[in-house]
Amino acid sequence: MTDLTKLSLAATRDGLSNRDFSALEVTEAYLGAIEKANPKLNAFIEVTAQQAREMAEQSDHRLNSRDARPLEGVPLGIKDLFATKHVHTQAASHVLDDFKPEYESHVTQNLWNDGAVMLGKLNMDEFAMGSSNETSHYGPVVNPWRAAGSNQDLVPGGSSGGSAAAVSAWLCAGATATDTGGSIRQPAAFTGTVGIKPTYGRCSRWGIVAFASSLDQAGPIARTVEDAAIMLTSMAGFDPMDSTSAEIAVPDFAAAVERGVKGLTIGVPREYRMDGMPEEIETLWQQGLEWLKAEGATVKDISLPHTKYALPAYYIVAPAEASSNLARYDGVKYGLRVSGKDITDMYELTRAKGFGREVKRRVMIGTYVLSAGYYDAYYVRAQKVRTLIKRDFERAFADGVDAILTPATPSAAFGIADQDMNADPVKMYLNDVFTVTVNMAGLPGIAVPAGKDHRGLPLGLQLIGKPFDEETLFAAGRVIERSAGGEFSPEKWW
Protein backbone atom coordinates (compact mmCIF):
# COMPACT_ATOMS: atom_id res chain seq x y z
CA MET A 1 0.00 0.00 0.00
CA THR A 2 1.21 3.52 -0.76
CA ASP A 3 2.55 5.50 2.14
CA LEU A 4 -0.25 8.01 2.61
CA THR A 5 2.07 10.49 4.29
CA LYS A 6 4.13 10.85 1.09
CA LEU A 7 1.24 12.26 -0.94
CA SER A 8 0.98 15.94 -1.67
CA LEU A 9 -1.93 17.79 -0.09
CA ALA A 10 -3.62 17.96 -3.51
CA ALA A 11 -3.17 14.19 -4.06
CA THR A 12 -4.42 13.48 -0.53
CA ARG A 13 -7.54 15.49 -1.24
CA ASP A 14 -8.10 13.71 -4.57
CA GLY A 15 -7.58 10.29 -3.00
CA LEU A 16 -10.01 11.11 -0.22
CA SER A 17 -12.65 12.38 -2.59
CA ASN A 18 -12.25 9.26 -4.79
CA ARG A 19 -12.51 7.21 -1.59
CA ASP A 20 -9.21 5.45 -2.38
CA PHE A 21 -8.58 5.70 1.34
CA SER A 22 -10.42 7.16 4.31
CA ALA A 23 -9.69 10.32 6.27
CA LEU A 24 -9.15 8.16 9.35
CA GLU A 25 -6.53 6.09 7.48
CA VAL A 26 -4.62 9.22 6.45
CA THR A 27 -4.82 10.63 9.96
CA GLU A 28 -3.63 7.35 11.50
CA ALA A 29 -0.72 7.26 9.02
CA TYR A 30 0.37 10.74 10.09
CA LEU A 31 -0.10 10.04 13.80
CA GLY A 32 2.09 6.94 13.38
CA ALA A 33 4.74 8.94 11.54
CA ILE A 34 4.73 11.63 14.24
CA GLU A 35 5.09 9.05 16.99
CA LYS A 36 8.19 7.59 15.33
CA ALA A 37 9.83 10.83 14.21
CA ASN A 38 9.05 13.31 16.92
CA PRO A 39 11.51 12.05 19.57
CA LYS A 40 14.26 12.81 17.02
CA LEU A 41 12.93 15.94 15.28
CA ASN A 42 10.95 17.65 18.09
CA ALA A 43 8.63 19.30 15.55
CA PHE A 44 5.37 18.77 17.47
CA ILE A 45 5.03 20.02 21.03
CA GLU A 46 1.47 18.76 21.43
CA VAL A 47 -0.20 15.95 19.49
CA THR A 48 -4.00 16.07 19.54
CA ALA A 49 -4.52 12.47 18.50
CA GLN A 50 -8.02 11.99 19.86
CA GLN A 51 -9.29 15.23 18.41
CA ALA A 52 -7.66 14.36 15.07
CA ARG A 53 -9.43 10.99 14.95
CA GLU A 54 -12.78 12.58 15.78
CA MET A 55 -12.33 15.23 13.10
CA ALA A 56 -11.28 12.56 10.59
CA GLU A 57 -14.36 10.46 11.37
CA GLN A 58 -16.59 13.46 10.77
CA SER A 59 -14.78 14.07 7.49
CA ASP A 60 -15.38 10.46 6.46
CA HIS A 61 -19.11 10.94 7.05
CA ARG A 62 -19.05 14.02 4.85
CA LEU A 63 -16.98 12.32 2.17
CA ASN A 64 -19.31 9.32 2.15
CA SER A 65 -22.36 11.51 1.79
CA ARG A 66 -20.72 13.55 -1.00
CA ASP A 67 -20.77 16.65 1.18
CA ALA A 68 -17.04 17.30 1.23
CA ARG A 69 -15.56 20.75 1.88
CA PRO A 70 -12.34 22.02 0.19
CA LEU A 71 -9.90 20.45 2.71
CA GLU A 72 -12.09 17.60 3.91
CA GLY A 73 -10.04 15.07 5.87
CA VAL A 74 -6.64 16.69 5.17
CA PRO A 75 -4.40 16.47 8.29
CA LEU A 76 -2.54 19.67 9.14
CA GLY A 77 -0.09 20.84 11.78
CA ILE A 78 -0.68 24.19 13.51
CA LYS A 79 2.07 26.51 14.69
CA ASP A 80 1.85 27.04 18.47
CA LEU A 81 1.29 30.77 17.84
CA PHE A 82 -2.32 30.17 16.73
CA ALA A 83 -5.00 30.08 19.43
CA THR A 84 -6.74 26.70 19.27
CA LYS A 85 -9.71 26.34 21.59
CA HIS A 86 -8.88 24.34 24.73
CA VAL A 87 -5.64 23.13 23.15
CA HIS A 88 -2.01 24.00 24.04
CA THR A 89 -1.24 27.55 22.81
CA GLN A 90 1.95 28.95 24.30
CA ALA A 91 3.97 30.53 21.48
CA ALA A 92 6.55 27.97 22.68
CA SER A 93 7.10 30.11 25.78
CA HIS A 94 7.41 29.21 29.45
CA VAL A 95 5.49 32.37 30.38
CA LEU A 96 2.28 30.92 28.90
CA ASP A 97 2.50 27.64 30.83
CA ASP A 98 -0.72 25.64 30.65
CA PHE A 99 -2.54 28.34 28.69
CA LYS A 100 -5.54 26.89 26.86
CA PRO A 101 -7.53 29.54 25.00
CA GLU A 102 -11.28 29.83 25.19
CA TYR A 103 -11.46 30.72 21.54
CA GLU A 104 -10.12 29.75 18.10
CA SER A 105 -8.02 31.93 15.79
CA HIS A 106 -9.73 33.12 12.62
CA VAL A 107 -7.21 31.36 10.35
CA THR A 108 -7.51 27.96 12.04
CA GLN A 109 -11.29 28.30 12.23
CA ASN A 110 -11.28 28.85 8.46
CA LEU A 111 -9.31 25.62 8.03
CA TRP A 112 -11.67 23.60 10.23
CA ASN A 113 -14.67 25.13 8.45
CA ASP A 114 -13.15 23.76 5.25
CA GLY A 115 -12.88 20.26 6.74
CA ALA A 116 -9.18 20.06 7.69
CA VAL A 117 -8.04 17.79 10.55
CA MET A 118 -5.75 19.08 13.33
CA LEU A 119 -2.83 16.77 14.20
CA GLY A 120 -1.36 19.01 16.88
CA LYS A 121 0.70 22.09 17.70
CA LEU A 122 4.09 22.77 16.16
CA ASN A 123 7.29 23.93 17.79
CA MET A 124 8.64 27.39 16.99
CA ASP A 125 11.00 30.05 18.26
CA GLU A 126 9.62 31.58 21.45
CA PHE A 127 7.08 34.27 20.48
CA ALA A 128 8.33 33.81 16.88
CA MET A 129 11.62 35.52 17.78
CA GLY A 130 14.43 33.64 16.12
CA SER A 131 15.80 32.27 12.86
CA SER A 132 16.84 28.78 13.95
CA ASN A 133 14.07 27.46 16.22
CA GLU A 134 16.58 27.34 19.06
CA THR A 135 14.82 29.88 21.30
CA SER A 136 11.84 27.57 21.97
CA HIS A 137 11.12 26.68 25.59
CA TYR A 138 10.60 23.14 24.24
CA GLY A 139 14.07 22.83 22.79
CA PRO A 140 15.32 23.07 19.22
CA VAL A 141 13.68 21.43 16.21
CA VAL A 142 16.02 19.28 14.15
CA ASN A 143 16.02 19.74 10.38
CA PRO A 144 15.10 16.45 8.60
CA TRP A 145 17.83 17.32 6.07
CA ARG A 146 21.45 16.42 6.68
CA ALA A 147 24.47 17.32 4.60
CA ALA A 148 25.76 14.49 2.40
CA GLY A 149 27.88 12.09 4.45
CA SER A 150 27.26 13.97 7.69
CA ASN A 151 25.17 13.19 10.73
CA GLN A 152 25.40 16.68 12.21
CA ASP A 153 22.04 18.05 13.35
CA LEU A 154 21.04 21.16 11.42
CA VAL A 155 18.50 23.86 12.26
CA PRO A 156 15.26 23.98 10.26
CA GLY A 157 15.28 27.78 10.32
CA GLY A 158 12.82 29.85 12.26
CA SER A 159 10.63 30.95 13.63
CA SER A 160 8.28 28.46 11.89
CA GLY A 161 10.89 25.69 12.25
CA GLY A 162 8.43 23.09 13.54
CA SER A 163 6.07 23.80 10.64
CA ALA A 164 8.83 23.47 8.03
CA ALA A 165 10.38 20.35 9.58
CA ALA A 166 7.00 18.62 9.97
CA VAL A 167 6.02 19.25 6.35
CA SER A 168 9.44 18.23 5.05
CA ALA A 169 9.54 15.04 7.15
CA TRP A 170 6.03 13.89 6.09
CA LEU A 171 4.51 14.50 9.53
CA CYS A 172 1.58 16.54 8.18
CA ALA A 173 0.15 17.34 4.74
CA GLY A 174 0.67 21.05 5.30
CA ALA A 175 1.18 23.47 8.19
CA THR A 176 0.21 26.93 9.26
CA ALA A 177 3.06 29.34 9.92
CA THR A 178 3.60 33.04 10.51
CA ASP A 179 6.13 35.52 9.15
CA THR A 180 7.23 38.77 10.80
CA GLY A 181 10.68 39.13 9.17
CA GLY A 182 11.10 35.89 7.22
CA SER A 183 9.72 33.26 9.58
CA ILE A 184 7.83 31.38 6.84
CA ARG A 185 10.22 31.82 3.92
CA GLN A 186 13.58 31.16 5.62
CA PRO A 187 12.53 27.82 7.21
CA ALA A 188 10.85 26.81 3.93
CA ALA A 189 14.15 27.47 2.13
CA PHE A 190 16.10 25.49 4.77
CA THR A 191 13.86 22.42 4.42
CA GLY A 192 13.08 22.25 0.69
CA THR A 193 9.45 23.24 1.22
CA VAL A 194 7.26 26.01 -0.19
CA GLY A 195 6.25 28.90 2.06
CA ILE A 196 4.28 32.03 1.27
CA LYS A 197 3.83 35.15 3.36
CA PRO A 198 0.78 36.81 1.84
CA THR A 199 0.14 40.54 1.65
CA TYR A 200 -0.34 42.21 5.04
CA GLY A 201 -4.07 42.09 5.74
CA ARG A 202 -4.76 38.97 3.64
CA CYS A 203 -5.03 36.65 6.66
CA SER A 204 -6.65 37.79 9.88
CA ARG A 205 -4.30 38.18 12.85
CA TRP A 206 -7.15 37.57 15.29
CA GLY A 207 -6.20 34.79 17.67
CA ILE A 208 -2.55 34.74 16.62
CA VAL A 209 -0.25 35.57 19.54
CA ALA A 210 1.07 39.03 18.63
CA PHE A 211 4.78 39.70 18.11
CA ALA A 212 5.04 42.85 15.94
CA SER A 213 1.54 43.73 14.83
CA SER A 214 2.40 45.88 11.82
CA LEU A 215 4.56 43.09 10.37
CA ASP A 216 2.95 39.78 11.45
CA GLN A 217 1.17 37.74 8.77
CA ALA A 218 0.04 34.12 8.66
CA GLY A 219 0.66 31.84 5.71
CA PRO A 220 1.13 28.17 4.83
CA ILE A 221 4.19 25.94 4.54
CA ALA A 222 3.54 23.06 2.14
CA ARG A 223 5.33 20.53 -0.05
CA THR A 224 4.37 22.05 -3.41
CA VAL A 225 3.35 25.42 -4.81
CA GLU A 226 -0.10 24.03 -5.57
CA ASP A 227 -0.49 22.78 -1.99
CA ALA A 228 0.45 26.22 -0.64
CA ALA A 229 -2.11 27.83 -2.96
CA ILE A 230 -4.84 25.45 -1.80
CA MET A 231 -4.07 26.14 1.86
CA LEU A 232 -3.85 29.91 1.50
CA THR A 233 -7.25 29.99 -0.24
CA SER A 234 -8.75 28.50 2.91
CA MET A 235 -6.68 30.49 5.43
CA ALA A 236 -7.25 33.95 3.93
CA GLY A 237 -10.30 36.16 4.16
CA PHE A 238 -11.78 39.25 5.71
CA ASP A 239 -12.36 39.27 9.45
CA PRO A 240 -14.04 42.19 11.24
CA MET A 241 -12.18 41.17 14.44
CA ASP A 242 -8.84 42.33 12.94
CA SER A 243 -8.92 46.04 12.18
CA THR A 244 -6.14 45.60 9.59
CA SER A 245 -7.83 42.69 7.81
CA ALA A 246 -8.36 43.54 4.14
CA GLU A 247 -11.93 43.59 2.95
CA ILE A 248 -11.08 42.10 -0.42
CA ALA A 249 -12.21 38.93 -2.17
CA VAL A 250 -9.94 35.86 -1.93
CA PRO A 251 -9.30 34.35 -5.35
CA ASP A 252 -8.97 30.61 -5.94
CA PHE A 253 -5.17 30.71 -5.73
CA ALA A 254 -4.81 27.15 -7.03
CA ALA A 255 -6.37 28.25 -10.33
CA ALA A 256 -3.41 30.59 -10.89
CA VAL A 257 -0.69 27.99 -10.34
CA GLU A 258 -0.38 26.80 -13.96
CA ARG A 259 -0.87 30.25 -15.46
CA GLY A 260 2.78 30.55 -16.51
CA VAL A 261 4.99 33.64 -16.72
CA LYS A 262 4.69 34.49 -20.42
CA GLY A 263 4.77 38.25 -20.85
CA LEU A 264 5.66 38.97 -17.21
CA THR A 265 8.52 41.28 -16.28
CA ILE A 266 10.71 39.96 -13.48
CA GLY A 267 12.80 42.50 -11.58
CA VAL A 268 16.33 41.71 -10.40
CA PRO A 269 17.37 44.08 -7.62
CA ARG A 270 21.10 44.79 -7.72
CA GLU A 271 21.19 45.56 -3.98
CA TYR A 272 20.48 41.90 -3.19
CA ARG A 273 23.94 40.98 -4.48
CA MET A 274 25.57 41.02 -1.04
CA ASP A 275 29.28 41.02 -0.29
CA GLY A 276 30.43 37.62 0.81
CA MET A 277 27.37 35.85 -0.57
CA PRO A 278 28.30 32.26 -1.50
CA GLU A 279 28.78 31.81 -5.22
CA GLU A 280 26.32 28.93 -5.36
CA ILE A 281 23.54 31.28 -4.21
CA GLU A 282 24.43 33.72 -6.99
CA THR A 283 24.50 30.84 -9.52
CA LEU A 284 21.11 29.61 -8.36
CA TRP A 285 19.66 33.09 -8.69
CA GLN A 286 20.92 33.34 -12.31
CA GLN A 287 19.54 29.88 -13.00
CA GLY A 288 16.13 30.97 -11.70
CA LEU A 289 16.14 33.95 -14.04
CA GLU A 290 17.05 31.67 -16.99
CA TRP A 291 14.14 29.37 -16.14
CA LEU A 292 11.68 32.27 -16.08
CA LYS A 293 13.09 33.67 -19.34
CA ALA A 294 12.78 30.27 -21.00
CA GLU A 295 9.07 30.33 -20.22
CA GLY A 296 8.53 33.75 -21.75
CA ALA A 297 9.26 36.24 -18.97
CA THR A 298 11.39 39.33 -19.46
CA VAL A 299 14.11 40.07 -16.94
CA LYS A 300 14.83 43.63 -15.90
CA ASP A 301 17.54 45.04 -13.64
CA ILE A 302 16.08 47.24 -10.95
CA SER A 303 17.31 49.20 -7.96
CA LEU A 304 15.86 49.08 -4.45
CA PRO A 305 18.31 51.54 -2.90
CA HIS A 306 17.15 51.30 0.71
CA THR A 307 17.46 47.50 0.92
CA LYS A 308 20.42 47.53 3.32
CA TYR A 309 18.50 49.63 5.82
CA ALA A 310 15.56 47.25 6.07
CA LEU A 311 17.14 44.94 8.63
CA PRO A 312 18.39 47.67 11.00
CA ALA A 313 15.00 49.44 10.75
CA TYR A 314 13.30 46.12 11.47
CA TYR A 315 15.38 45.69 14.64
CA ILE A 316 13.87 48.90 15.94
CA VAL A 317 10.27 48.54 14.76
CA ALA A 318 9.79 44.86 15.63
CA PRO A 319 11.24 44.97 19.19
CA ALA A 320 9.35 48.22 19.87
CA GLU A 321 6.04 46.61 18.94
CA ALA A 322 7.02 43.42 20.78
CA SER A 323 7.82 45.28 24.00
CA SER A 324 4.30 46.68 23.90
CA ASN A 325 2.55 43.44 22.88
CA LEU A 326 4.40 41.36 25.47
CA ALA A 327 3.54 43.71 28.32
CA ARG A 328 0.43 41.56 28.91
CA TYR A 329 2.48 38.62 30.25
CA ASP A 330 2.62 39.67 33.87
CA GLY A 331 1.53 36.63 35.85
CA VAL A 332 -2.01 37.90 36.41
CA LYS A 333 -4.29 36.83 33.58
CA TYR A 334 -2.74 33.60 32.37
CA GLY A 335 0.34 31.43 32.41
CA LEU A 336 3.26 31.47 34.78
CA ARG A 337 3.30 33.41 38.03
CA VAL A 338 6.34 33.77 40.26
CA SER A 339 5.40 35.25 43.64
CA GLY A 340 7.30 38.25 44.96
CA LYS A 341 7.28 40.58 47.95
CA ASP A 342 4.84 42.95 46.20
CA ILE A 343 3.10 43.22 42.84
CA THR A 344 6.02 44.86 41.01
CA ASP A 345 8.33 42.18 42.34
CA MET A 346 5.88 39.56 41.07
CA TYR A 347 5.81 41.13 37.58
CA GLU A 348 9.59 41.35 37.39
CA LEU A 349 10.25 37.83 38.63
CA THR A 350 7.51 36.30 36.47
CA ARG A 351 8.84 37.94 33.31
CA ALA A 352 12.48 37.19 34.15
CA LYS A 353 11.68 33.49 34.59
CA GLY A 354 8.98 33.17 31.91
CA PHE A 355 10.78 34.79 28.98
CA GLY A 356 13.83 33.26 27.36
CA ARG A 357 17.02 35.15 26.66
CA GLU A 358 16.20 36.28 23.09
CA VAL A 359 12.72 37.49 24.05
CA LYS A 360 14.10 39.46 27.01
CA ARG A 361 16.78 40.99 24.79
CA ARG A 362 14.17 42.18 22.28
CA VAL A 363 11.75 43.48 24.91
CA MET A 364 14.64 45.43 26.45
CA ILE A 365 15.70 46.91 23.08
CA GLY A 366 12.09 47.79 22.33
CA THR A 367 11.66 49.41 25.74
CA TYR A 368 14.83 51.43 25.21
CA VAL A 369 13.98 52.75 21.72
CA LEU A 370 10.53 53.80 22.90
CA SER A 371 11.76 55.42 26.11
CA ALA A 372 11.69 59.16 26.72
CA GLY A 373 14.33 61.02 24.73
CA TYR A 374 15.02 58.19 22.27
CA TYR A 375 11.65 57.77 20.56
CA ASP A 376 12.35 60.22 17.71
CA ALA A 377 15.95 59.19 17.17
CA TYR A 378 15.12 55.50 16.88
CA TYR A 379 11.47 54.65 16.36
CA VAL A 380 10.29 57.61 14.27
CA ARG A 381 13.44 57.47 12.18
CA ALA A 382 12.97 53.75 11.53
CA GLN A 383 9.36 54.33 10.46
CA LYS A 384 10.57 57.00 8.03
CA VAL A 385 13.11 54.57 6.59
CA ARG A 386 10.27 52.10 6.27
CA THR A 387 8.38 54.59 4.10
CA LEU A 388 11.46 54.81 1.85
CA ILE A 389 11.75 51.02 1.61
CA LYS A 390 8.12 50.76 0.55
CA ARG A 391 8.59 53.57 -1.96
CA ASP A 392 11.49 51.67 -3.59
CA PHE A 393 9.14 48.77 -4.32
CA GLU A 394 6.34 51.05 -5.50
CA ARG A 395 8.69 52.64 -8.04
CA ALA A 396 9.79 49.26 -9.37
CA PHE A 397 6.20 48.09 -9.78
CA ALA A 398 5.18 51.39 -11.39
CA ASP A 399 8.01 50.87 -13.89
CA GLY A 400 6.33 47.72 -15.16
CA VAL A 401 7.83 45.01 -12.92
CA ASP A 402 5.31 42.23 -12.13
CA ALA A 403 7.40 40.32 -9.59
CA ILE A 404 10.93 40.39 -8.17
CA LEU A 405 13.26 37.40 -7.95
CA THR A 406 15.86 37.18 -5.17
CA PRO A 407 17.63 34.49 -3.15
CA ALA A 408 15.57 33.41 -0.13
CA THR A 409 18.45 33.16 2.34
CA PRO A 410 22.17 33.99 2.34
CA SER A 411 23.08 30.33 3.05
CA ALA A 412 21.72 26.82 3.43
CA ALA A 413 20.78 25.45 6.87
CA PHE A 414 23.51 25.71 9.52
CA GLY A 415 24.30 23.56 12.51
CA ILE A 416 22.44 23.57 15.82
CA ALA A 417 24.32 25.60 18.46
CA ASP A 418 26.41 27.39 15.83
CA GLN A 419 29.19 29.23 17.68
CA ASP A 420 29.23 32.37 15.52
CA MET A 421 25.47 32.85 15.61
CA ASN A 422 25.27 32.32 19.34
CA ALA A 423 28.08 34.72 20.11
CA ASP A 424 26.61 37.61 18.11
CA PRO A 425 22.86 38.26 17.88
CA VAL A 426 23.35 40.39 14.77
CA LYS A 427 24.85 37.40 12.86
CA MET A 428 21.66 35.44 13.50
CA TYR A 429 19.56 38.41 12.41
CA LEU A 430 21.34 38.49 9.03
CA ASN A 431 19.46 35.31 8.07
CA ASP A 432 16.50 37.54 7.27
CA VAL A 433 18.38 40.03 5.11
CA PHE A 434 16.51 39.04 1.89
CA THR A 435 13.10 38.47 3.44
CA VAL A 436 12.64 41.33 5.91
CA THR A 437 12.18 44.04 3.25
CA VAL A 438 8.95 42.32 2.23
CA ASN A 439 7.44 42.59 5.73
CA MET A 440 8.55 46.20 6.05
CA ALA A 441 6.63 46.99 2.83
CA GLY A 442 3.65 44.71 3.57
CA LEU A 443 4.13 42.79 0.29
CA PRO A 444 3.58 39.12 -0.49
CA GLY A 445 6.66 36.87 -0.81
CA ILE A 446 7.04 33.17 -1.62
CA ALA A 447 10.03 30.88 -1.09
CA VAL A 448 10.33 27.94 -3.47
CA PRO A 449 13.00 25.20 -3.42
CA ALA A 450 15.20 25.72 -6.47
CA GLY A 451 18.45 23.82 -5.99
CA LYS A 452 20.96 22.38 -3.57
CA ASP A 453 24.29 23.54 -2.25
CA HIS A 454 27.58 21.61 -2.56
CA ARG A 455 26.65 19.59 0.54
CA GLY A 456 23.30 18.52 -0.90
CA LEU A 457 21.22 20.88 1.26
CA PRO A 458 18.20 22.63 -0.23
CA LEU A 459 18.33 26.28 -1.31
CA GLY A 460 15.34 28.47 -2.09
CA LEU A 461 14.54 31.41 -4.30
CA GLN A 462 12.14 34.15 -3.27
CA LEU A 463 9.59 35.92 -5.44
CA ILE A 464 8.17 39.23 -4.21
CA GLY A 465 4.88 40.49 -5.59
CA LYS A 466 2.61 43.50 -5.73
CA PRO A 467 0.12 43.99 -2.91
CA PHE A 468 -2.63 41.36 -3.13
CA ASP A 469 -1.09 39.75 -6.22
CA GLU A 470 -0.19 36.39 -4.66
CA GLU A 471 -1.49 34.77 -7.86
CA THR A 472 1.53 35.92 -9.87
CA LEU A 473 3.79 34.51 -7.15
CA PHE A 474 2.10 31.11 -7.34
CA ALA A 475 2.36 31.13 -11.16
CA ALA A 476 6.03 32.15 -11.21
CA GLY A 477 6.83 29.95 -8.22
CA ARG A 478 5.39 26.97 -10.07
CA VAL A 479 7.69 27.67 -13.04
CA ILE A 480 10.71 27.63 -10.68
CA GLU A 481 9.44 24.44 -9.02
CA ARG A 482 8.83 22.68 -12.33
CA SER A 483 12.13 23.84 -13.87
CA ALA A 484 14.15 22.83 -10.81
CA GLY A 485 12.51 19.43 -11.18
CA GLY A 486 14.63 18.04 -8.37
CA GLU A 487 13.61 15.84 -5.53
CA PHE A 488 13.27 18.02 -2.45
CA SER A 489 12.70 15.26 0.05
CA PRO A 490 15.21 14.54 2.79
CA GLU A 491 16.68 11.07 3.09
CA LYS A 492 14.99 9.47 6.06
CA TRP A 493 17.34 8.88 9.04
CA TRP A 494 14.93 9.36 11.93
Binding site: E102, M346, V363
Partner: protein, 95 residues
Protein backbone atom coordinates in the same frame (compact mmCIF):
# COMPACT_ATOMS: atom_id res chain seq x y z
CA UNK B 1 24.49 56.04 21.53
CA UNK B 2 25.75 53.26 23.75
CA UNK B 3 24.06 52.07 26.92
CA UNK B 4 25.91 51.84 30.21
CA UNK B 5 25.27 49.51 33.16
CA UNK B 6 22.88 51.95 34.85
CA UNK B 7 20.84 52.26 31.67
CA UNK B 8 20.57 48.46 31.46
CA UNK B 9 19.22 48.39 35.03
CA UNK B 10 16.79 51.22 34.20
CA UNK B 11 15.52 49.46 31.01
CA UNK B 12 15.00 46.31 33.06
CA UNK B 13 12.83 48.25 35.51
CA UNK B 14 10.85 49.92 32.71
CA UNK B 15 10.33 46.55 31.01
CA UNK B 16 9.41 44.92 34.33
CA UNK B 17 12.07 42.27 33.82
CA UNK B 18 14.32 41.53 36.79
CA UNK B 19 17.93 41.93 35.71
CA UNK B 20 20.31 40.31 38.18
CA UNK B 21 23.65 42.05 38.79
CA UNK B 22 25.43 39.09 37.19
CA UNK B 23 23.44 39.65 33.98
CA UNK B 24 24.05 43.38 33.55
CA UNK B 25 27.33 43.13 31.65
CA UNK B 26 25.94 40.51 29.27
CA UNK B 27 22.87 42.58 28.44
CA UNK B 28 24.99 45.67 28.07
CA UNK B 29 27.21 44.13 25.41
CA UNK B 30 24.30 42.51 23.54
CA UNK B 31 22.20 45.67 23.53
CA UNK B 32 25.17 47.70 22.36
CA UNK B 33 25.84 45.22 19.55
CA UNK B 34 22.26 45.68 18.34
CA UNK B 35 22.32 49.46 18.79
CA UNK B 36 25.63 49.56 16.91
CA UNK B 37 24.01 47.64 14.06
CA UNK B 38 20.99 49.95 13.80
CA UNK B 39 23.22 53.04 13.93
CA UNK B 40 23.66 52.84 10.13
CA UNK B 41 20.16 54.32 9.81
CA UNK B 42 21.78 57.68 10.61
CA UNK B 43 23.20 57.66 7.05
CA UNK B 44 19.74 57.85 5.52
CA UNK B 45 18.38 61.25 4.56
CA UNK B 46 14.86 61.20 5.97
CA UNK B 47 14.15 64.91 5.71
CA UNK B 48 10.62 65.50 4.49
CA UNK B 49 9.73 61.78 4.75
CA UNK B 50 6.55 60.82 6.58
CA UNK B 51 6.93 58.03 9.12
CA UNK B 52 4.91 54.98 8.13
CA UNK B 53 1.77 54.52 10.16
CA UNK B 54 0.01 51.91 8.03
CA UNK B 55 1.69 49.53 5.61
CA UNK B 56 -1.37 49.26 3.38
CA UNK B 57 -3.51 52.25 2.52
CA UNK B 58 -6.52 51.72 4.74
CA UNK B 59 -8.79 53.73 6.96
CA UNK B 60 -9.61 52.08 10.25
CA UNK B 61 -13.11 50.68 10.10
CA UNK B 62 -15.74 51.89 12.52
CA UNK B 63 -18.53 49.82 13.93
CA UNK B 64 -21.76 50.48 15.63
CA UNK B 65 -21.28 51.43 19.29
CA UNK B 66 -22.93 48.45 20.91
CA UNK B 67 -22.02 45.50 23.11
CA UNK B 68 -21.19 42.48 20.96
CA UNK B 69 -19.67 40.13 23.52
CA UNK B 70 -19.51 39.63 27.25
CA UNK B 71 -21.21 37.85 30.08
CA UNK B 72 -18.63 35.10 30.44
CA UNK B 73 -16.33 36.21 33.24
CA UNK B 74 -15.65 32.60 34.24
CA UNK B 75 -14.14 31.90 30.82
CA UNK B 76 -12.01 35.03 31.02
CA UNK B 77 -10.46 34.05 34.35
CA UNK B 78 -10.25 30.35 33.47
CA UNK B 79 -6.52 30.61 32.71
CA UNK B 80 -5.60 32.85 35.64
CA UNK B 81 -2.89 31.55 38.00
CA UNK B 82 -5.08 32.76 40.90
CA UNK B 83 -8.71 33.86 40.84
CA UNK B 84 -11.64 34.06 43.21
CA UNK B 85 -15.33 34.73 42.40
CA UNK B 86 -14.35 35.54 38.81
CA UNK B 87 -11.81 38.15 39.90
CA UNK B 88 -8.09 38.03 39.12
CA UNK B 89 -6.19 37.82 42.41
CA UNK B 90 -2.98 39.85 42.85
CA UNK B 91 -0.80 40.77 45.84
CA UNK B 92 -2.12 43.69 47.87
CA UNK B 93 -1.41 47.00 46.08
CA UNK B 94 -3.04 49.50 48.50
CA UNK B 95 -2.06 49.77 52.14
Amino acid sequence: MAVDADTVRRIGRLARIRVEESEVAGYQSELNAILGFVEQLDEVDVSGVEPMTSVTPMALRQREDKVTAGGHAERIVSNAPLSEDNFFMVPKVVE
